[in-house]
């Protein structure tokens, strides 16, 4: 397992790690982003509608970068998002 691979997929770096291709990594970024976007848009449509497209993307990329999800159940992302928002608000405030 390569942490550098996941650092790229999680938007923590744009540096392509040795041995991997940029297009391949972009595909994994898209798959993760689409998975998160689809679940969080479904669970919290009012959050999405209150933000510009750029703000929404910034928020979700941050969510993915900082995530420490452990649940085997994809649906639990909606709870994780609330915890993330609470932490972000606490940090900002």
């Amino acid at each position: 397992m390569d942490q550098a691979f996941f650092d790229y997929v999680r938007y923590r770096t744009d540096e392509v790690p040795a041995g991997y291709t940029k297009n391949g990594l972009e595909m994994y970024r898209r798959l993760v982003y689409q998975g998160v976007d689809s679940m969080i848009s479904y669970a919290y449509p009012h959050v999405k509608s209150g933000l510009s497209d750029e703000e929404w993307r910034f928020l979700l990329e941050n969510f993915i970068a900082k995530s420490e999800w452990n649940s085997n159940f994809y649906g639990d992302l909606s709870n994780e998002f609330i915890i993330f928002l609470q932490n972000e608000t606490a940090t900002a405030g």
């Binding site: 397992m1 390569d2 942490q3 691979f5 996941f6 997929v9 999680r10 040795a18 041995g19 991997y20 291709t21 297009n23 391949g24 990594l25 972009e26 595909m27 994994y28 798959l31 993760v32 998975g35 998160v36 993915i64 995530s67 420490e68 999800w69 452990n70 649940s71 085997n72 159940f73 994809y74 992302l77």
Partner: protein
């Protein structure tokens, strides 16, 4: 014998109109849920999971595996498989990511498969996955062959994934050299081309390619294996699924 990956979008379908003898579902979608709809289908069920993260670095979730086993017993499920992939790093990212094709990763993966099998008390299947980029000194087929030699799991042979990988990484499509007795069953699906990345994506959202269907059918006849059709995105009508099943397995209509 052919089966179908059962999705919630198919809940209103009359599955008796399809020539299938089993269905496959992700246990993640049914643990802790009302399973009466599944049971009412009256078809044998196989479990094909997505979240075990055999290639990840976080500890395997023992409670999850115990829940899988309990549901297998309750629903008379005979097979449980997941992927030759990770679902994230030490954490979940809810997709399937490549395990570097190296000997040290073969060893680590074999250890984790053994751990999973010890918790479950049964042999599991591992599916060769699609990968969009990966590193390592082994080819994909060498990695699969080494893994099967090191581990007493079965291989869920996904013929479409082998084709997707061979197209993306520009090598000849061929099956890994594995004892057929170790192959649990076969997966067939379709894929799509993503033009801006110049990559074929394993979408399970299209008609299967002829070489995938023909290869799977020939293998299933030669070695008496079941085939499972996966169609998870852009799910068509039940009539299209029936045609696809009959096309993959022409003997069904003879």
């Amino acid at each position: 014998m052919i089966g179908l990956g059962y999705r919630s979008e198919m809940r209103d379908w009359d599955l008796s109109k399809l020539p299938i003898s089993f269905i496959e579902v992700a246990p993640e979608n049914w643990i802790g849920k009302d399973t009466s709809r599944l049971e009412e289908l009256g078809l044998p069920i196989k479990f094909h999971g997505v979240s075990l993260s055999l290639g990840g670095t976080g500890e395997l979730n023992q409670q999850f595996l115990k829940d899988v086993r309990a549901l297998m017993i309750r629903l008379n499920v005979t097979d449980y498989s997941d992927h030759i992939a990770s679902s994230g790093d030490a954490h979940q990212l809810y997709d399937l990511f490549p395990i570097p094709f190296t000997q040290s990763e073969v060893d680590r993966l074999a250890d984790r498969i053994k751990q999973a099998q010890d918790i479950l008390g049964i042999r599991i299947g591992v599916e060769n996955a699609s990968y969009y980029t990966n590193r390592g000194e082994l080819t994909e087929n060498q990695f699969i062959e080494e893994l099967l030699a090191k581990s007493d799991c079965n291989l869920l042979l996904d013929v479409n994934n082998l084709l997707v990988n061979s197209k993306n990484h520009k090598y000849e499509f061929e099956l890994p050299n594995v004892d057929p007795a170790r192959v649990s069953y076969l997966h067939v699906a379709g894929h799509d081309y993503i033009a801006d990345l110049d990559l074929y994506q394993d979408t399970h959202g299209a008609h299967a390619e002829e070489i995938v269907a023909k290869t799977a059918d020939a293998y299933s006849i030669a070695h008496n294996k079941e085939i499972l059709l996966e169609w998870d995105n852009d799910i068509p009508t039940i009539d299209v699924i029936r045609e696809e099943l009959e096309w993959i397995k022409p003997s069904l209509t003879m």
